[in-house]
């Protein structure tokens, strides 16, 4: 039976409730956003007792479906003040799904100081004091917790680091990868700080003794999963030894650099002279030189067939960090003007250890460099600054609260953000489509909120020329499709394949039908995505957001970006048309 686990941190009780009928078939982002919309007062303080953190695995998470081990985490964001859903790839959500737990809702706030750990297993859920783990680096905490709870074959762990304990707005929620590394983050939006405000340090999930996830229609499920698997196995980007497997997402460093859209030195330029030294190919070559082996990437989570997660090795051949994603590579690399992979790797490792979102943290360092705190390119100094955050010094408290706070503290007008969230690794002045996504996203500047999907696959009304689309309609459909994919539990990267291979997308819908017993078609993709977005937009409206928040920062309209020497010139009413056609 599907249940919701409600964890009240005021009374420190954990109780199971049946899944409400109104939430039938909802999971992943659809469910986290539904609960946040329905239960969290939109005007509440994100770090106060009324906010909640909601965890939900996707519809097919925990089944034999490929690349589907995503966990959605939702709440009101201390970074943006709006709704947030951030997701990560990890075995943690699979175990939750196998226990029949559709969602964990963490609410309330303890009156007394301290941190607690929640243990979830077939017998139930219990809270215990966790002060012993507070203040420690996650690379110490995770091995100790694995040792205590029976090892990584048995449990997966969600935790916050020092940044979350300090309630910093750049704090993410950490999960372990398959090797037990604390390296997979629901990073964006500061939900780690919300957990910190509730005193919840960690959630350990043990699914020993759980049953397989029941399938309402096994034939439909198997057919769907095979179609999706075939698409992933055949597409040049997602297949074994394809682009993601060989080079990881960091292959994008060179591509964005060629496109003139690689934000460099706090979004001053669109090309970075050191791009080739930090790109995916350089990571592959550097690892080969240092380990003597061609290292192909691994799966961050069970059942992923794409396997895009990389590692970086020290000169002596020992592992330094995992994973240097494109966004992290860019944030500490091009955006900070740093062209040294060892420095970037150390900054990445420190974020994993202190519990920080790499995008917000790198973007914040770049703003601070613009404000004169340090020199762009000085990797050693950047590493020192990251330790300031981890230690919670007064300077660290400023930096740990993100780019907007830091921009204010250092008098910087060039803060590339939307709704308080630092922009990720695509320059909107060079790539206008992503600028629209940043502007109107319910999440603040977020590349994943509209990463996917061709309009003709979605079967949207009217005929669109795919090479010359109506930008507003395209941006809207991107967001709907992403809202759907974030609900299935699939990693967004399946979009590369199912975008080009229509049967793969059909398969994704059929799998959901197989689990739920529904009869969804491709038309339901847009319907569900729309419903998710409507919930989120309604929450944000009640939180006080207006169309004026769906804008890019002023400097992008007046400062032109080399090499294209263009400004952001999309009219405001075109942005407003995205959701109000």
């Amino acid at each position: 039976m599907e249940r919701i686990l409600r964890v009240n941190m005021t009374s420190r009780t954990a109780t199971f409730e049946p899944m409400p009928e109104a939430y039938r078939n909802r999971a992943g982002r659809w469910l986290t956003s539904s609960v946040v919309h329905d239960e969290v007062p939109a005007t509440c303080h994100p770090l106060g007792p009324s906010n909640k953190v909601v965890f939900s695995p996707g519809i097919v998470t925990g089944t034999a479906s490929p690349t589907s081990s995503r966990i959605s985490v939702g709440g009101k964001s201390p970074l943006t003040g709006g709704i947030k859903e951030s997701n990560a790839g990890t075995g943690w959500g699979r175990r939750l799904a196998r226990l029949g737990i559709r969602a964990i809702v963490v609410e309330g706030q303890p009156k007394e100081k301290g941190f607690w750990l929640l243990k979830v297993d077939v017998k139930g859920a219990t809270l215990e004091p966790a002060d012993a783990w507070a203040g420690k680096r996650l690379s110490e905490v995770y091995p100790a917790l694995f040792a205590r709870f029976g090892g990584k074959a048995k449990v997966d762990i969600c935790a916050i680091g020092a940044a979350g304990e300090f309630r910093m707005a750049a704090a993410g929620v950490c999960f372990n990868d398959q090797e037990g590394r604390p390296s997979r983050y629901a990073g964006r939006g500061g939900l780690g700080a919300v957990l910190g405000s509730k005193g919840l340090k960690a959630i350990v999930v043990d699914d020993t003794g759980a049953k397989e996830i029941p399938l309402a229609d096994k034939a439909a499920f198997d057919q769907g999963r095979r179609k999706l698997g075939a698409a992933l196995g055949e597409h040049a980007i997602t297949k074994p030894k394809g682009a993601l497997n060989s080079y990881g997402t960091a292959v994008l460093v060179n591509i964005l650099n060629e496109a003139g859209g690689l934000p460099t030195r706090n979004f001053r330029e669109g090309r970075f002279e050191g791009a080739a030294k930090i790109a995916g190919e350089a990571i592959f070559a550097g690892n080969k030189e240092r380990t003597g082996a061609e290292l192909y990437n691994h799966a961050c989570s069970p059942g992923c067939v794409i396997c895009c997660s990389n590692t970086w090795h020290r000169p002596d051949g020992n592992e330094h960090t995992s994973c240097i994603e494109y966004e992290s590579d860019w944030a500490f690399g091009a955006d900070c003007g740093i062209d040294n992979l060892d420095h970037i790797a150390e900054l990445n490792l420190l974020c994993n250890d202190y519990g920080l979102d790499t995008i917000e943290t790198g973007g914040t360092l770049a703003v601070a460099a613009d404000g004169g705190l340090w020199r762009f390119g000085d990797g050693k100094r950047a590493i020192e600054l990251l330790h300031e955050i981890g230690k919670g010094t007064p300077l660290g408290r400023i930096l740990g609260n993100g780019a907007v706070v830091t921009g204010r503290a250092f008098g910087v007008a060039r803060v590339p953000h939307v709704k308080g969230q630092n922009m990720p690794a695509y320059e909107p002045r060079a790539i206008k489509g992503i600028g629209m996504t940043y502007a109107v996203s319910t999440m603040g500047a977020d590349h994943t909120s509209g990463y996917t999907i061709a309009p003709e696959i979605l079967g949207v009304s009217g005929k669109l020329d795919p090479l010359n689309p109506d930008k507003a309609e395209l941006a809207r459909n991107f967001q709907y499709a992403t809202g759907f994919l974030d609900t299935t539990g699939h990693c967004l990267f399946i979009a590369f394949a199912i975008l080009d291979i229509a049967s793969g997308f059909e398969g994704t819908v059929e799998e959901c039908n197989g689990v739920l017993g529904t009869t969804w078609t491709m038309n339901d993709v847009a319907r569900i995505g729309k419903e998710v977005l409507n919930l989120e937009r309604d929450f944000n409206r009640r939180a006080g957001f207006t169309a004026l928040d769906d804008r890019l920062p002023e400097f992008m309209r007046v400062e032109s970006l080399p090499p294209h020497n263009t400004v952001w010139d999309i009219a405001d009413d075109e942005l407003d048309r995205v959701f109000a056609p």
Binding site: S246, L252, I255, E258, A259, A276, A279, E281, G433, P466
Partner: protein, 94 residues
């Protein structure tokens, strides 16, 4: 002259090809050059070429004209990670 920046397995067509630095071929421009004609002159097999092709930072395809002084960026088929629908290709002939 045209500068062609090559990536991934296409780097082998540059004499200075290395995975962690720029691999660039400088070649004379010819009247009427397109991405396709430049690719053919370099001897790059059609099948190796992906959809992430750039002329002066603009998303391009094989028919995109190449002017004297242009910078081309060519990525192979196994590296086309940039989401193509974000771009409007340059008008043909412009």
């Amino acid at each position: 002259m045209i500068d062609v920046h090559l990536y991934g397995k296409l780097r082998r067509f540059a004499s200075n090809g290395s995975p962690d630095s720029d691999s660039v071929v400088s070649m004379p421009h010819r009247e009427g050059d397109t991405v396709g004609s430049v690719v053919a002159r370099l001897g790059i097999p059609e099948a190796d070429l992906g959809a992430n092709l750039f002329v002066d930072g603009h998303y391009a395809d094989r028919r995109t004209p190449v002017a004297d002084g242009a910078r081309l960026g060519l990525f192979p088929d196994d590296m086309q990670l940039l989401y193509k629908w974000y771009f409007r290709p340059k008008e043909e002939g412009s």
